[in-house]
């Protein structure tokens, strides 16, 4: 029987992969490699859905901005720049962790991965501080369309990030319990790619707020 939702969704049933051979039908069936590939495909499909989700909000952003005269810019809290740095650093830490894992340095892996998870949580705290700052300056969700989109997009991104942190923490716990066998390599990769994706989305959102917010 298949395992928990975590192992189901972010993989973890697969062995280290054979070369990815997109297209199927001509490989050995059934075995663990198929689940590894399926997890990767599932991730890509999930990312496509997320892109559409953010694209819908972003196109609504531009339509709403272009069609009315009630748009007034929301000041960007300066802490957002710091948050951006924190998130980029956490992505770097993830890559360092994966490199360490590839060369078998488990202690270094644990250090970097934990660091990345903590930085992720720190980013969320930073976002909370940004919301507080805007509130105290009198900007709320319904104040004007610009602030509506700011709160909406940052919240939706934060919710995605909570999912990402859950995945990172799961890996971290597995690593500390010494359960991160070769079979969990898929889970490591899937969580890492998802995390980088959220990083990229955040940078695009920053550009959106900076140039058009």
């Amino acid at each position: 029987m298949a395992g928990s939702l975590t192992t189901d969704v972010i993989g973890g049933r697969g062995a280290p992969p054979p070369a990815r051979n997109f297209g199927g039908g001509d490989r050995e069936p059934g075995g663990r490699g198929a689940h590894r590939r399926a997890s990767m495909t599932g991730l890509m499909v999930l990312l496509a859905a997320s892109v559409m989700f953010f694209a819908a909000f972003t196109s609504a952003f531009f339509v709403r901005r272009g069609m009315s005269n009630d748009w007034s810019a929301t000041p960007m809290p300066r802490i957002l720049w710091l948050n951006t740095g924190v998130l980029v650093a956490s992505s770097l830490a993830i890559e360092l962790a994966r490199r360490a894992l590839r060369s078998g340095q488990r202690a270094a892996f644990n250090r970097y991965w934990t660091g990345a998870t903590v930085l992720g949580a720190l980013f969320l705290c930073g976002q909370y501080a940004a919301w507080r700052e805007l509130h105290s300056a009198g900007f709320y969700l319904a104040t004007n369309p610009s602030s509506s989109f700011f709160f909406l997009l940052t919240c939706v991104h934060a919710l995605h990030l909570l999912g990402g942190i859950t995945a990172l923490s799961y890996i971290d716990v597995q690593a500390f319990l010494l359960r991160l066998g070769p079979g969990k390599r898929t889970a490591v990769d899937v969580s890492a790619y998802f995390w980088h994706f959220l990083d990229a989305i955040w940078i695009l959102l920053m550009a959106l707020f900076f140039f058009w917010g």
Partner: protein, 583 residues
């Protein structure tokens, strides 16, 4: 590695893990099917009440008052209650029937078996997706029971009506909020389902089963999943914005200076058209989500029961892909009346017409498949033929509606209602009936009763044409849709006999569906036992026992050596070669 028995899949023994929170794609498929079956009878019941009210608007019916105290005081249905029945009929049918049964029901059960996999790629996600859909249905039906009742804004939930709250009518309070929440939950469930379908199709195919050897059913489930993935993500986003307009005071969709029931609302600058764009970007692909699986089933059955290979397999695949792709560029044809720039309307119109090309390819190939075949007129085949008939009828009226000059006249008339019921509603449902008769022997090990099946088919076929063909005539005569009562309009008075005829046809057709329900229940217990491959079909599901074992292939991994439709191959010992037969 020459695939020995490699897997750790054992059937769970406890009742709850086995039948309720099951991870088995077959159980989940059946759960979806029954959810849709419940929904379709609920939706049909609502439509019968609507038809009744249209013809007898002043009738006093005691049980209306029992059911809806404020909606039907003294047993007479109010226009608001009529609108809420219409909204719920449309919503339940589109989401919980047409989106659920053909894709999630049949697809869940048969996609893994047809591609030689032991389960979907992510079984836990699969279970979660069903129970999320179930939750969405519970929330949706709950809208009937809250103060004010069910919402009035139609299945398209256009703002401002859907966004301004209880001020704009009963049902627009909590009822509408629950509607939006339910749709958001449903979108989440559909996204989970789509991830599973796509990953399963790409990565879990049996050895030898290249994409160009996939049964057309699998192709249609695959493309439908892609449409669902891209469409429901946008609907979810739109739902979030609408909910914020209602609950948080934002102004995404609500313009300034809106006067509702003598109150000026405190919104500014939003655009109701923004909702229409977001909604129809989802809404048009949704039409193909409903119909594509039916096309897959029809192709499968026409080939099997004509004992001929499908005519133009590759063209069929490209047509499915073409319909799916073009479906994302035509949403504007729902908005010709919105004051859109005529040049945009022209572009949307040309793109809409171009969908006629792959649709015609499919129809041509279905006829080519039948041509010269030794046709076996089973009930399943009759329903597949009925599907083709309804698809053509509904498709032709689409060519009228796709032209802005004509649509300006037809918009919001019964012509539109006739069109989409034919092509999206009834055609898709005929696809489900066809699938049910075809696969019932595999699921239960017994046949559905053919005599009852044929009676049900002929009566239903005549019935749906009797209900929906006159709607085109009504539309040409200028009969508007969404009105609760036509008796007060002189120009509509002469059309009332047509409405009366349609209402009687609707009653009769609804009653006839009880034959199907009886057949389903009775045959599951007492039906004629079916052999493993009763239709002499070629795809992998007909190689396993009926019902299939827990992991489908009992630990073995099938190898595919043939295409999916090798019927009447010259020189072959039988008139069909199974996909897993030796090369």
């Amino acid at each position: 590695m020459a695939s020995p028995i490699v897997h750790a899949h054992h059937a769970p023994t406890g009742f709850i893990r086995r039948y309720i929170f099951s991870l088995d794609h077959k159980v989940i498929g059946i759960q979806y099917y029954f959810l849709a079956l419940f929904s379709v009878f609920l939706g049909m019941g609502l439509s019968v009440l609507m038809r009744f009210h249209l013809v007898y608007p002043d009738a006093k019916v005691g049980f209306f008052e029992t059911l809806w105290k404020t909606g039907a005081p003294g047993g007479i249905m109010t226009p608001e209650l009529y609108l809420s029945l219409m909204t719920m009929h449309g919503t339940i049918m589109v989401f919980f029937v047409l989106t659920t049964a053909p894709q999630s029901g049949f697809g869940n059960y048969f996609l893994p078996i047809q591609i030689g996999a032991e389960d979907m790629a992510f079984p836990v996600l699969n279970m979660l997706s069903f129970w999320t859909t179930f939750l969405a249905l519970v929330v949706m039906v709950a809208a009937f029971f809250v103060p004010g009742g069910a919402p009035l804004a139609g299945w398209t939930a256009y703002p401002p009506l859907s966004a301004v709250g209880a001020l704009s009518g009963p049902g627009e309070g909590l009822g509408q909020t629950l509607w939006i929440i339910s749709i958001a939950i449903f979108s989440g469930a559909s996204l989970m389902g789509a991830i599973n379908f796509i990953a399963t199709t790409i990565d879990l195919r049996a050895k030898g089963l290249s994409m160009m050897r996939l049964p057309l059913t699998c192709w249609s489930w695959f493309v439908t999943a892609i449409l669902g993935l891209l469409g429901f993500a946008v609907l979810l986003a739109a739902g979030v914005l609408l909910l914020l307009d209602r609950l948080a005071g934002t102004s995404f969709f609500l313009p300034a200076g809106l006067l509702v029931n003598d109150q000026i609302l405190n919104h500014k600058g939003g655009s109701p058209l923004l909702w229409q764009h977001l909604f129809w970007f989802f809404g048009h692909p949704e039409v193909y989500i409903a119909i594509l699986p039916g096309m897959g089933v029809a192709s499968q059955l026409l080939s099997t029961f004509s004992r001929k290979p499908i005519f133009g397999y590759r063209a069929m695949v490209y047509a499915i892909l073409g319909i799916g792709f073009l479906g994302f560029f035509v949403w504007g044809h729902h908005m010709f009346m919105s004051g859109m720039n005529p040049y945009s309307a022209f572009a949307f119109s040309i793109l809409t017409m171009s969908i006629g090309v792959p649709s015609a390819i499919k129809t041509f190939n279905w006829i080519g498949t039948l041509w010269g075949g030794r046709i076996r007129f089973t009930t399943a085949m009759l329903f597949a033929l009925g599907f083709v008939s309804l698809f053509v009828t509904g498709g032709i009226s689409g060519i009228f509606l796709g032209q802005p000059a004509l649509d300006l006249y037809f918009h919001d008339t019964y012509f539109v209602v006739g069109h989409f019921h034919m092509i999206m509603g009834v055609a898709a449902i005929f696809g489900m009936f066809a699938g049910t008769f075809y696969w019932f022997p595999k699921v239960t090990g017994r046949f559905l009763n053919e005599t009852l099946g044929k009676i049900h088919f002929y009566l239903t076929f005549i019935g749906v044409y009797a209900i929906f063909t006159p709607m085109h005539y009504l539309g040409i005569a200028g009969n508007p849709r969404r009105y609760a009562d036509f008796t007060n309009f002189d120009f509509l008075g002469k059309l009332l006999p047509v409405h009366t005829f349609m209402t009687h046809a609707a009653f009769a057709t609804a009653v006839v569906q009880l034959i199907f329900l009886f057949n389903l229940i009775w045959s599951a217990k007492k039906g004629k036992p079916a052999p493993v491959n009763p239709w002499e079909a070629t795809t992998l599901e007909w190689t396993v026992p009926s019902p299939p074992p827990f992991d489908n292939f009992a630990g073995k991994h099938p190898v595919v050596n043939h295409g999916p439709y090798e019927y009447s191959v010259p020189g072959a010992p039988k008139d069909y070669i199974m996909q897993s037969d030796p090369a």
